[in-house]
């Protein structure tokens, strides 16, 4: 069996350390259960409390999941789960879950539904989809999703002949960054997790990336490891975040001016000759053009623009260069800030290239090397698209993952053709997309809205048909390719049977195929173990022992796939046209964009208004965990962070409830003020995902305020279509 050398060594070392306190190496789920005897089962699976997909082990006693632990073999969990991962049982046993299919029994938004059987619900969905496809063409069927369920409905839509499939994770999150890095390196900075070698970094730069609050398990483990080792953190954030509290340099930048700082840094790195000359020579093109383009961005200028002391700007970047190339400017994740975000990501990518971090220890590790045999289980090729999809809009570099708001706009206008049905799987669009008024308007234009989800969220409760999915702890899902330093494969399998009448998304998608007469695209075989059969065939095709994975380790690594650093015989491959790192981008120039990032100032708030910024909490994922018992208990509502001086001026006390009103006169629910020194005077901050308006979510409903409600304005990034959402200004109204 092949398993992670890193973990093995770690565990071997721990046991050698001797005493009773070396956690028993995991070895095998089955062996562990046997050792304990009784009615205990250990099931290796994959967490889905967020998208990091950590390996987890469920302890099941008498058919009940009693504890979740991290799988020590899995490189993204390394034996640990975060708070949400630990709280997964709360999701499984949440009494507010959707329990059976439901069909709308009243007007949209009224919340009136009647219970239906699966057969009735799916027959209705299929009939309506067929009618819409006949009348308007298959392209009028669309899908939006997040997480695992999307794959199965992508299958349905493609089989029907539509390609109108979009994921908010692109335009509302990380797609912008991915495009920028693809333009520069020909690769994303990681697929599901960023390829940052934090564990070995000497200096880590974070631009608005609040590791610690932004809870991605293994990355945070490495971050803490780095801090513990004395690595220097340079944290650029208008807010004194957890990461800022660990930093040597906290740069409380004026929001919206990050690119100014980056360009000035690039200027300093070049003009002081601090860049990696050999690396630049060997692996990049366009250095001279960059040098020329950043000349005007002096530290003096940047100090004025960013409102940071010039000394801090200069000293921090010199410190960064001192330890290059064992440093990294983190690529970041959520990138949809100001509507010119691709260029900010390009600046980060260029700075990394000048420091030579790609393929260097403590920088960015190279993609793991592994080849997987093709596997499609003999499903026929999809029919061609009936019409080109609308999902890219007018954005030349919008990726295949689709621009959700373009789909939404087309649904409203009927241009270039009508969009009449949405399948929404695993995403609460009302809280994911900016300007809820438009989302609602689009939904009102639909002939059919189908929601596949676990909980009665705002979006689900607008659907015509609600199809209740079971949780990740109740279903087979897939063999996941993992790509960290090494490549590997992990499994998701049920710890317990689905509760109520819920079903796995694969089953729902497959049954829908059958009802639509698309049997060739349905999962082969009948019954609840059909998908497992497919997973077994897939394992075989990939040369893996399925039982080893399912019963024992939950994760296997692909031998010899780990070659993270550049060596004489391990050279990086860049997927760009020039096959080098493109500091200067001909591609961007070809479409009329700046080939080297230039600074574009953004609008700043008027007196009396604050810029609304938002972020994450380590105990919640988006808006989907607020109702989960133990997570809710820890954080029931969000707070609005307000600078102490500003609060004093306004007469707002810490803990007092206030209401925010944005530039368009839209108000949010009341929210507690956190009066603090930890934020600049010109912005306020709140954690995203609260302020539910979903009465069936008993714990979450009406707790805290919804940042997305206040984001009525957004600016589209012209390159990718990403929606800049940090462009809303709010005033604070003290509650009467």
């Amino acid at each position: 069996m092949a398993f992670s050398r890193r973990n093995f060594l770690k565990y071997a070392a721990m046991s050698a350390g001797g005493t009773v306190l070396a956690d028993t190496p995991f070895i095998s789920a089955e062996a562990r259960a046997k050792a304990e005897g009784g009615n205990v089962k250990y099931v290796p699976t994959s967490c889905e409390m967020c998208f990091w997909k950590c390996g987890a082990v469920a302890k099941v006693v008498d058919g009940k999941v009693v504890k979740l632990e991290g799988n020590p073999y899995h490189p993204q969990s390394r034996g640990k789960l975060c708070a949400r991962g630990q709280g997964g049982i709360g999701q499984l046993y949440d009494e507010d879950r959707l329990k059976h299919p439901m069909i709308i029994d009243g007007a949209r938004g009224e919340g009136k539904y009647r219970k239906a059987s699966w057969d009735e619900a799916l027959t209705l969905v299929a009939k309506k989809m067929q009618a819409i496809a006949e009348k308007y063409g298959p392209e009028s069927l669309a899908m939006m999703s997040h997480g695992s369920p999307g794959d199965y409905f992508t299958n349905v839509l493609k089989a029907m002949g539509s390609r109108n499939i979009a994921f908010p994770s692109f335009a509302q999150c990380k797609g912008i960054r991915d495009v920028a890095w693809e333009l520069t390196y020909g690769h994303k900075p990681g697929t599901s997790c960023e390829r940052v070698d934090l564990e070995n970094s000497r200096v880590i730069v974070l631009f608005g990336t609040h590791l610690g609050e932004n809870m991605h398990n293994s990355q945070n483990q490495e971050f803490a490891e780095a801090v513990g080792r004395g690595a220097k953190i340079i944290c650029v954030d208008p807010r004194y975040s957890t990461a800022a509290s660990k930093s040597s340099f906290w740069l409380p930048i004026k929001p919206g001016t990050d690119t100014a700082l980056l360009l000035a840094w690039i200027n300093i790195v070049i003009s002081e000759g601090l860049y990696d000359k050999e690396y630049v020579e060997k692996y990049t093109v366009g250095f001279e053009e960059v040098k020329e383009a950043v000349k005007e961005y002096t530290p003096e200028w940047a100090a004025q623009e960013t409102e940071l002391p010039m000394r801090q700007i200069v000293e921090s970047v010199r410190e960064l260069c001192r330890y290059a190339p064992n440093v990294v400017v983190h690529p970041g994740r959520h990138y949809s800030w100001y509507g010119n975000d691709t260029q900010r990501a390009r600046a980060v990518a260029i700075l990394n290239a000048l420091l030579g971090t790609w393929g260097r220890k403590g920088g960015m590790w190279l993609p793991a090397k592994a080849k997987f045999a093709k596997f499609n289980d003999d499903a026929p090729a999809y029919p061609p698209a009936s019409k080109p999809p609308v999902i890219k809009g007018d954005f030349p570099f919008a990726g295949g993952e689709g621009v959700t708001q373009v789909l939404r706009d087309a649904t409203i206008t009927g241009n270039p053709y009508p969009i009449k049905a949405w399948i929404v799987a695993g995403t609460n669009l009302m809280k994911a997309l900016p300007d809820q008024r438009l989302t609602r308007k689009a939904i009102d234009n639909l002939d059919l809205l189908v929601a596949v989800d676990l909980f009665p969220t705002e979006t689900v409760m607008l659907a015509d048909v609600i199809l209740p999915e079971c949780t990740y702890l109740e279903r087979h899902d897939g063999l996941y390719k993992i790509s960290t330093r090494e490549a590997g494969v992990a499994i998701r399998q049920p710890a317990v049977e689905p509760m109520y009448e819920t079903k796995p998304a694969w089953w729902i998608g497959s049954e829908l195929c059958k009802k639509l007469g698309l049997n060739d695209y349905a999962v082969k075989g009948n019954g609840m173990d059909a998908w497992e059969g497919r997973m077994r065939r897939q394992a075989k095709a990939w040369g893996l022992d399925y039982d080893q994975l399912a019963k024992h380790t939950g994760y296997v690594s692909i031998p010899d796939s780990e070659k993270p650093y550049i060596t004489a015989d391990n050279q990086p491959v860049f997927g760009t046209f020039s096959e080098k790192i493109e500091l200067y981008s001909d591609e961007l120039e070809g479409e009329g964009f700046d080939p080297v990032p230039q600074y574009e100032p953004v609008e700043h708030p008027q007196k009396g208004m604050f810029r609304l910024i938002y972020g994450r909490s380590p105990v919640h994922t988006f808006s989907r965990t607020v109702n989960t018992q133990w997570l809710w208990e820890l954080e029931k509502e969000n707070e609005v962070w307000l600078n102490k001086k500003e609060a004093d001026r306004l007469g707002v006390k810490n803990g007092q409830y206030v209401v925010l009103e944005n530039q368009d006169g839209v108000r949010c629910n009341k929210i507690k003020a956190k009066v603090t020194e930890r934020i600049r005077h010109d912005c306020v901050y709140m954690v995203h995902g609260f302020g539910h308006n979903a009465p069936r979510l008993k714990r979450a409903n009406q707790s805290g305020a919804d940042d997305q409600q206040l984001i009525t304005k957004y600016i589209e990034d012209p390159i990718t279509g990403g929606t800049g959402m940090r462009v809303n200004f709010v005033k604070i109204i003290k509650e009467a």
């Binding site: 350390g17 005493t19 504890k67 632990e69 789960l81 630990q86 809870m215 957890t242 380590p618 102490k644």
Partner: protein, 185 residues
């Protein structure tokens, strides 16, 4: 016999609360009660700030007022140095709850006994670390045997300056804090 203790490396704590939720699940801690929590305390004024992340839990004190005051003998020291509660003997009189200077105890209302961090006695018996330590994402919580000079915890305590909370009350805590925050430029 081991002598158990915990070290909290405050510089590594990222306030992620994995420990808190893990503890609640492992020990079936009732709603709104905690055996361990993580406090985040910020000092200074913008932009010159420092933070302290502080995990708090029962200190398994050598000279434990909760044990001394317990009228039934339910609260007691084990041979491994930990302070434990015999639930059968506990009458829920709350004497221990009020005597603890660390506010580490709560009453489990459903069952009527006092409760608190046990260093996951049940896990120690299986050779595992306490649940909070096992899942500590930051690697901030370190657990081990003070009597073994080669244990990780002994080595860490030898190498780093450390302190206990509220030393003045004289209870002899066995949870040690090391606090090495990065120097600011």
């Amino acid at each position: 016999m081991p002598r158990y203790a915990m070290v909290i490396d405050q510089s590594r704590c990222i306030g992620c609360m994995a420990c808190v939720v893990s503890c609640k699940r492992e020990n079936d801690v009732p709603p709104e009660h905690y055996r361990t929590r993580v406090l985040e305390m910020v000092q200074g004024s913008f932009p010159d700030l420092t933070t302290e992340m502080r995990s708090e839990l029962c200190n398994h004190c050598d000279n434990a007022p909760c044990v001394n005051i317990c009228p039934t003998g339910a609260s007691h020291h084990e041979e491994d140095g930990t302070v434990q509660i015999n639930r059968k003997k506990c009458v829920g009189c709350k004497a221990c709850v009020t005597s603890c200077p660390y506010n580490a105890r709560y009453i489990n209302e459903e069952h009527g006994y006092a409760d608190k961090c046990s260093f996951c006695q049940q896990r120690l018996a299986e050779g595992k670390k306490p649940a909070c330590v096992a899942t500590c994402v930051g690697g901030s919580r370190i657990f081990g045997d003070l009597d073994d000079p080669q244990s990780e915890i002994s080595i860490i305590l030898r190498k780093n300056s450390h302190r206990v909370l509220n030393k003045a009350v004289g209870t002899g805590p066995n949870v040690y804090y090391i606090n090495q925050y990065p120097k600011r430029a």
